[in-house]
Amino acid sequence: MSPADPALHLVATSPSPAMRSALRASGALAAVVAAAWALAVWNAPVDRTQGVIQKILYLHVPCAFAAYLGFAGTALFGALYLWRGEERSDRLAAASAGVGVVFCTLVLLTGPIWGKGTWGRWWSWDLRLTLTLLLYLVYLAYILLRSFTEGSERTARFAAVYGIAGLLVIPLNYFAIDLAAGRAIHPENLERGSLGPGMGLPFALGVAAALAAFVHLWLQRAEVARLRALRARRDAEQSAQEFAPGGASWDT
């Protein structure tokens, strides 16, 4: 595709009809589910032990699930890139990591607020908290690596392997409470029946809202990545034209 062709540019710079439909549908779904979640959280019963602050659970845990999903997506699309070599898979892996890091940031912000209100301190070097911070830093490094060396096939291959290796931190993080063997300050993982009466629906809606928001943000991020790749290709083509024999040069 040539950047000089306006007709082709109109096609390339607008989302495809399928992407446009996906953006609209995912945005509408996220808005509806988020509204239902907000209503359910408002009406959720107050926890007898912790009081009203326990309602942070309906935001904190779903954000953690969405972060896991983002990092799993990074590994999955990274593996697809290594297998098929398609640039699109690499872009989707980067989009997954970007959205995953945003959700993990929210986990690391809402958790300490909850901790301050219940434990009396913002942070503890508890195994779960430490491994969450490690998980965040692993994928933050993935994003920084890509931003410094964007565009090369070698970077994409390295990022794919790195993204897959980083996935190892997720099971460690999830089972951190069991690994700490009674020394954990962080509450145990939720299991069926561990929530009080009336808390299941707001929690389920919270997970649904976080996943719907994840999908919508991921599609938006993937579209941004596609346009950035298009711009990089255009810049490369322009540079090649400028320095080609007979083209513009530094002297002109």
Partner: protein, 39 residues
């Protein structure tokens, strides 16, 4: 109650802020590429 409100402002505000940034970035890139293509 203050901690609960703070957590929800940070959480929901963070997601909405990120969405707005992505939409703005997407539109700016599309405009930039479209302008370059029509020149």
């Amino acid at each position: 109650m203050g901690y609960l409100i703070a957590a929800y402002v940070v959480g929901v505000g963070g997601l909405v802020g990120y969405l707005l940034w992505l939409v703005r970035e997407r539109r700016a890139l599309a405009r930039e590429l479209s302008d370059a293509g029509s020149r």
